[in-house]
């Protein structure tokens, strides 16, 4: 019945909510310091992320917005274990992941909780692996499926991102940027994660390709109920994909809340400037 709603701007799309209601991601007091040396060799501490907290509800979608130096990518890298936090706590589906995994089994379990798609489709795939091999490698490690069952799941995943049999034998070099990003998405989904982190995953794509991938991401979420954490500088993309938003500036949260509310009526001065800087019809440069 709800699909008959004639309200064109109905904000929340409602994907199936998983039975497990623990938050997909819960981050509190997350901080990351880097030790840096200037050109004179003087050492100092640079705080890339400072006391950041947010929650991605199960099946929800959160946008992490900021410009360069906001700490959004460092935050993503900490979430997937590529950086170790200086302080704070990260939980995914109730499991703490603030420290490096201590065993191979824990490492694999974490992989099934959280996956990530990176910005640059040209470097995020192994150049010597075919599309099929790249996705199958992950299935073999995580799905527990064998033989025809795994082949079936592989075909299903490739089909989901719009790849046919012939294209699946291609290596990344033979694919366009949009196709590579589809492979990266299929590979991430192969681990059957509950949360997908999209680190500027559509930023490097041509506008028409970006639209295709955004539609694909919406379809996947509707079909699987997976949660998204979208990291982006592009407010329009965040609005399109996310229920709620966190605005970062210089490693700190300046504003957070419902996506529509924050973008329509920003409370923070920086969010207002950010919002006013986006060219829209009728926008005059310099007015922001």
């Amino acid at each position: 019945m709800s699909t008959l709603s004639s309200e064109p701007s109905s904000e929340p799309r409602t994907p199936p909510i998983p039975a497990d209601n623990r938050p997909a991601i819960a981050v509190s007091g997350l901080t990351k310091d880097f030790r840096v040396a200037d050109k004179h060799g003087r050492r100092s501490v640079f705080t890339a992320v400072s006391d950041v907290s947010f929650t991605v509800p199960a099946g929800g979608s959160l946008g992490l917005v900021g410009e360069s130096g906001s700490g959004k990518t460092t935050t993503a890298r900490m979430l997937v274990g590529l950086e170790t936090p200086t302080a704070g706590r990260i939980e995914a589906l109730g499991h703490d992941r603030s420290r490096p995994a201590r065993s191979a089994a824990e490492r694999r379990r974490r992989a099934r909780e959280l996956q990530i798609v990176f910005q640059d489709p040209y470097t995020s795939l192994d150049p010597s692996q075919t599309v099929r091999a790249a996705v199958d490698e992950v299935l073999r490690a995580h799905s527990g499926l064998e033989g025809p069952a795994r082949a079936g799941r592989l075909a299903e995943l490739l089909d989901q991102v719009g790849f046919d049999e012939r294209q699946a034998s291609a290596r990344p070099r033979e694919l366009s940027g949009g196709q590579r990003q589809r492979v990266a998405i299929a590979r991430a989904l192969a681990a059957d994660p509950r949360v997908l982190i999209l680190d500027e995953a559509v930023s490097a794509l041509d506008v028409s390709i970006q639209a295709q991938i955004l539609n694909l991401l919406v379809d996947i979420r509707t079909a699987t109920g997976i949660a998204y954490l979208l990291i982006s500088h592009d407010l329009a993309v965040v609005r399109h994909l996310c229920d709620s938003v966190v605005v970062l500036r210089r490693g700190r949260v300046v504003e957070s809340g419902d996506c529509g509310a924050v973008l329509d009526t920003p409370a923070d001065e920086y969010t207002r400037v950010l919002r006013a800087s986006v060219p829209v019809p009728g926008w005059r440069p310099g007015s922001g």
Binding site: E67, V207, Q210, A211, Q212, N215, P279, P281, P285, G288
Partner: protein
């Protein structure tokens, strides 16, 4: 002021000539800002290189490029140098790559004044400081003594604009000038470019992949696809009255910031380059309205409802959509 007529450009790629621009037509009036919008492979950057004759070695160019009635393609070396030095200025995408890292900002900005105008060193420094102030850089005296690595990307792009203005050109070619910058910095830089252009009555060709940005900055916008222009229309009208299927598709591809759409009306397939296009309309493989006629012959860029559109079926499509 600037006229491109039936310009074809082919580049030498490993011994084979590969077309990058085919039948390109553009007109730019005095004091006008023209946006050149397209995806990768559309040839928008090649257009800038063609106008300034900065094409790679072995490139083949035909057609006409006229600047104030003078044929740019026929210019002799001395004339071409004068044209590049004082008539036209180019703002590149990545200021860090375009500015010599070992020169001070002052040398960079004042170079055109000293070398081309024969202005004295002290006078050049004074004028450079004025220019930096004009592009919104505070503390100009200190900035002139700094090196590029000491400035942020936004500051460098301002310095680049200042150096372009130093030569007092009448035409600015801005090639994705803000793509490498953050959104808030982009708004500032674009604002400065827009203000200076109006104050000094300069003409500008503004190249970008961001249609919304082009609509905001320019008087008219030309949409490019596969090496030629498919639609030209005034920026005020284009957003609501786009007529070419590709332009309509581009507008529908971008999510809006004001509201959330259920789905985007994505164009299928990927953007093709000029060398991949068949004998017919270059957009035919992605167009929902394609018919046999579209595959057979390439449409011409023709006047339609106050703009120019390159589409065989533009009238039918328009009537259909109105009904």
């Amino acid at each position: 002021m600037l006229r491109l007529r039936d310009v074809d450009v082919a580049l030498n790629v490993e011994g084979r000539m590969r077309p990058v621009l085919t039948g390109l037509n553009l007109d730019l009036a005095e004091g006008e800002a023209l946006g050149l919008v397209g995806e990768s492979g559309s040839g928008k950057s090649m257009t800038v290189r063609t106008i300034t004759r900065l094409l790679p070695h072995g490139a083949r160019v035909s057609g006409a490029v006229e600047f104030e009635g003078r044929d740019v393609l026929a210019m002799r070396p001395a004339e071409l140098r004068a044209f590049r030095d004082s008539d036209v200025g180019v703002v590149f995408q990545d200021p860090r790559a375009a500015i010599n890292p070992t020169h001070r900002i002052g040398d960079f900005v004042g170079e055109a004044l000293r070398v081309n105008r024969g202005v004295s060193k002290g006078e050049a420094a004074r004028r450079s400081a004025e220019l930096l102030a004009a592009v919104g850089i505070d503390d100009a005296e200190r900035r002139l003594r700094q090196y590029p690595h000491e400035l942020s990307g936004g500051m460098l792009q301002r310095a680049m604009i200042a150096s372009v203005l130093a030569a007092e050109p009448r035409l600015i070619l801005a090639d994705e000038p803000t793509t490498a910058l953050d959104v808030t910095i982009q708004a500032e830089v674009v604002g400065i470019l827009d203000r200076l252009r109006r104050e000094r009555a300069l003409s500008m060709v503004f190249i970008t992949h961001d249609l919304d940005l082009a609509l905001a900055v320019c008087d008219r916008v030309a949409v490019m696809y596969a090496g030629s222009v498919v639609e030209v229309r005034s920026a005020r009208e284009l957003h609501d009255t786009a007529r070419h299927p590709y332009t309509i598709g581009l507008l529908g591809s971008r999510p809006a910031i004001e509201r959330r759409a259920e789905r985007l009306t994505a164009i299928p397939g990927r953007p093709v380059s000029a060398f991949e296009a068949g004998p017919g309309c270059a957009f035919v493989s992605r167009c929902a309205f394609a018919q046999d006629a579209c595959r057979a012959s390439r449409p011409r860029l023709e006047a339609f409802q106050g703009g120019l559109v390159r589409c065989h079926r533009v009238e039918e499509i328009h009537e259909h959509s109105v009904v």
